[in-house]
């Protein structure tokens, strides 16, 4: 049971991180290699706020906005200039991820740190005692994902996003400012990753290298879940999160990762659009 | 005489649209066939099906009596069915002569590709001159004008030594003189090499110079087929083409 809950926790966080990666790829054909750093910037926002005020909640509240603004700036200054050059964008954002990672080392030091939980305590779920904070995290992710789904499926903004995703030219002909949609979605994706990083801060041994591992896992989520499908991302996160937790309970972490990578490769070979992605065209 | 290239009951749907709707076609060896039809008639889609760019939903395609509609793109080309695209398609980053040399070696086995064969190179150079591209040999293809690009791509598909050559609007964007020159040259090459040609064209003068038979496509179907005198007189064709000058 603990394994299941651990899996759920990881799935919750991964879905928050991967959603940005997937939606940005679907919308702009851009893979943001600095996406793991958006996660870690969220964590360090919490660190900075905690060091300044001793309050963990403040950082968690600020993180999505701080990181969202950073994402917006990245889109405006860099991504936009490389439009249509998928692999070059990959390289440039990869360079950016190094800059952010090393910049964080300069500012905060390369060492690892552990932050206190904003609250402690356990709750008994189906006969298993489980930390309350982790349960909070799962609940938060569910609420946020539901909100994101609502935004994409039910609002004017969401309608514009899917119009641009399907046919950029056509959407622009209809008067949608595709550039603004790009920037907004990029900011949203970054902000969600930042939020994930922020709430995960107390659970991880934080150092600037952590982002890479969340990036790697998010890729697996996107490969398995398919791009451009929100439910697919959530389902992919569930699969990878639970898989990781189940495998990690009995094997070394590295074995778990090998198994998941092989699984992901089998899936893209058999279904290039991911398990849950829509077939297009 | 059996057909060299044959299509039987080809159907291709895009959503609800039947872009190709039961097209059958038989091209004899050495024949020059023109395919005409208004915009959107399904001419390019037919070519896409014949050359493996699209898979038919129904029907089959035979080259020399063998099914080719299941083969990958490059296998179809290797069997001698080569195609010029409607929008000129070349490698933009390399020179004109590199483009033609790429085409000249295209049908070799992979293991023969580590060294350029002298006859491929000779053929590339001969084709370069045949299409009066020798003055542009060292220009990067991406810098050519539209007409020059058309000529380059024609040179490429000729250098590839096709048995059946499919040309999709080869003279679009060319001047009248260029068009005439290309028509004369194609006729000469086709006769000299015993090449079979299938050409989509709008230019009537061009068609009269080249085509043995004409196939008229309309809304994905074959509307008429025959020598051009017959086609010109066909009342149905005249109606479809009203205002287009046939």
């Amino acid at each position: 049971m603990t394994t299941v809950l651990n899996g759920l926790t990881l799935a919750a966080v991964l879905s928050l991180v991967a959603i940005g990666l997937a939606v940005i790829f679907g919308l702009m054909r851009v893979i943001n290699m600095a996406h793991g750093e958006m996660f870690i910037l969220g964590s360090y926002t919490v660190v900075a706020a905690w060091e300044a005020t001793g309050n963990v909640w403040l950082g968690i509240a600020l993180a999505p906005f701080v990181v969202g603004a950073i994402g917006w700036a990245i889109e405006r200054t860099m991504i936009r200039r490389l439009s249509g050059r998928l692999l070059d964008t990959l390289v440039a954002t990869w360079g950016l991820s190094i800059v952010i990672r090393e910049g964080l080392k300069v500012v905060f030091g390369a060492g690892s740190r552990n932050l206190p939980f904003p609250f402690t305590g356990d709750l008994t779920v189906l006969g298993t005692r489980y930390p309350l904070y982790r349960l909070f995290l799962i609940a938060l992710a569910v609420v946020v994902m539901a909100t994101v789904l609502w935004v994409f499926l039910r609002t004017d903004f969401g309608w514009k996003v899917s119009a641009v995703t399907q046919d950029r030219e056509m959407a622009m002909a209809m008067g949608i400012d595709a550039g603004r949609i790009d920037a907004a979605v990029f900011a949203l994706g970054a902000g969600l990753a930042g939020l994930a990083g922020a709430v995960m801060t107390p659970l991880i041994t934080l150092n600037p290298e952590v982002g890479l591992f969340f990036l790697a896992r998010s890729f697996l989520v996107v490969i398995v879940g398919g791009v451009g499908s929100l439910l697919g991302t959530a389902a992919g996160a569930g699969l990878i999160g639970m898989g990781q937790a189940a495998l990690a309970a009995s094997f070394r972490p590295v074995i778990a990762q090998i198994v998941l990578l092989v699984l992901a490769i089998v899936i893209i070979r058999l279904r290039p659009t991911g398990l849950f992605g829509r077939l297009q065209g | 005489m059996t057909a060299l290239l044959e299509a039987r009951g080809l159907v291709k749907r895009f959503g609800g649209l039947r872009a190709t709707d039961g097209v059958s076609l038989a091209i004899e060896p050495g024949e020059v066939r023109c395919v005409i039809g208004p915009n959107g008639a399904g001419k390019t889609t037919l070519f896409n099906l014949l050359t493996g760019h699209l898979r038919p939903d129904e029907g089959e395609i035979l080259l020399d009596g063998e099914r080719i509609d299941v083969l990958p793109l490059h296998e179809i080309a290797r069997r001698g069915l080569v195609r010029k695209y409607q929008v000129p398609s070349v490698l933009p980053d390399v020179s004109v002569s590199e483009n033609i040399r790429l085409a000249a070696a295209g049908r070799r086995r992979l293991s023969d590709l580590l060294r350029e064969r002298a006859d491929d190179r000779d053929r590339a150079e001969a084709t370069l001159e045949e299409l009066a591209l020798d003055g542009l040999a060292d220009r990067i293809a991406g810098q050519l004008s539209h007409g020059e690009l058309q000529r380059l791509e024609i040179a490429m598909v000729l250098a590839a030594q096709p048995r059946v050559l499919l040309l999709d609007e080869p003279t679009a964007g060319m001047t009248v003189e260029e068009t005439g020159r290309v028509a004369t040259m194609l006729r000469a090459i086709a006769e000299r090499r015993g090449l079979t040609l299938v050409i989509v064209e709008h230019d009537i003068a061009f068609i009269k110079m080249l085509g043995d038979r004409i196939t008229v496509l309309h809304e994905g179907r074959v509307l008429a087929e025959g020598p051009h005198a017959e086609i010109e007189a066909d009342p149905l064709v005249r109606r479809v083409y009203l205002g287009e000058g046939l």
Partner: protein
């Protein structure tokens, strides 16, 4: 048809032959210059030159893949590190077997090449290319790095492999600075020649075609998946060769040779030197290493950060790197001359 070949193109051919000759004369001169380096330079400088050449070979491998076919391999150090580990593991665990030296050398190239072939078979031939492929190479390199750190009993974990038996083939010992240096110079030349042969063959043209117009290339008869596979496997083999050569030079194998940082460095060498140029990777490796050696100890900690900045700036402003910069300048000067 041959009589149609006019005088002009025949002259063109002899000019091409002359350029080819000049090219190899220059290459021979560089080789000779490199050969005599140890006679004049200190051991330190000789070691630096050897390292730069190894990096250049590693980057050359990536350039074939990324520069020519446009397929980025984000985790290319996987092949470098696998070459190094294959060689190192043979020397550590099978050091006493007869022909261990030869086996170590062969394994150093064969193991990364085999991995590359398997990846190409499963991915490229299933039409998994582009960004997905790039990301999977990254994941592979991350996993290999972790394997090397965690399988302590076999790989020595984070401390790596050391105290290996030297590579011996008969009376010849490939170990330590000078033997490694000369071997590396020869291998750099051989790798360069192989890459050049490939790039200038019809396959090389098809590699350009795969990058810029895959459909056209396939519809001329080229099996583009096989072309990609050839480029990827040869590129990985060359990078694996570099990893293998690093072992006798450094006498030390460690997990980061498989990892993200080295992968990034390889990308940076190619990007800065110039994609789609075979000397570019060597120039890139030289410029970057030389730049790093100029930094004071205090600034070394910012080196990785600077690497990231270079990467962003080069991709944004000069996608063809230094070689592209120089060749544009040369063309401009020539253009001016012709105008006069």
């Amino acid at each position: 048809m041959t009589e149609a070949v006019g005088a002009r193109t025949l002259i063109g051919r002899s000019a091409a032959r002359r350029i080819e000759l000049v090219h190899w004369v220059v290459a021979a001169a560089v080789a000779v210059a490199l050969w005599v380096v140890p006679l004049f330079a200190s051991r330190f400088v000789t070691g630096q030159v050897a390292r730069i050449l190894v990096f250049g070979i590693a980057a050359l491998g990536l350039d074939l893949i990324w520069g020519y076919t446009g397929q980025l391999s984000l985790g290319h150090a996987a092949f470098f590190g696998l070459g190094a580990y294959a060689t190192g593991l043979v020397l550590v665990h099978l050091g006493n077997v007869p022909a261990a030296g030869l086996l170590a050398i062969v394994a150093g190239v064969a193991v990364p090449t085999t991995l590359a072939y398997l990846m190409a078979r499963t991915l490229i031939h299933g039409n998994v290319t582009g960004a997905y492929f790039a990301i999977i190479t990254l994941l592979v390199s991350l996993i290999l790095e972790q394997l090397a750190t965690t399988l302590i009993g076999i790989t020595g974990g984070i401390n790596g492999l050391y105290g290996m038996a030297p590579i011996r083939i008969g009376p010849w010992e490939l170990w330590g600075l000078l033997p490694s240096y000369y071997t590396i110079v020869v291998c750099a030349l051989v790798a360069y020649a192989i890459a050049r042969r490939l790039v200038r063959s019809p396959i090389g043209r098809a590699m350009e075609g795969v990058r810029t117009n895959e459909q056209r290339t396939a519809s001329l008869g080229y099996p583009t998946s096989s072309v990609r596979t050839i480029a990827f496997v040869v590129g990985a083999a060359i990078t694996g060769l570099a990893g293998m050569l690093y072992v006798p030079l450094e006498q030390f194998v460690y997990p980061t040779q498989l990892g993200v940082l080295l992968s990034t460095s390889i990308i940076v060498w190619v990007a800065i030197g110039g994609r789609r140029s075979l000397v570019g990777p060597f120039i890139g490796a030289f410029v970057v290493s030389y730049g790093q050696s100029l930094l004071s100890d205090r600034l070394q900690q910012y080196w990785v950060l600077a690497t990231g900045v270079f990467l962003v700036v080069v991709v944004l402003t000069q996608p063809r790197g230094l070689v592209g910069l120089v060749s544009t300048a040369v063309r401009r000067v020539r253009g001016h001359r012709e105008e006069r």
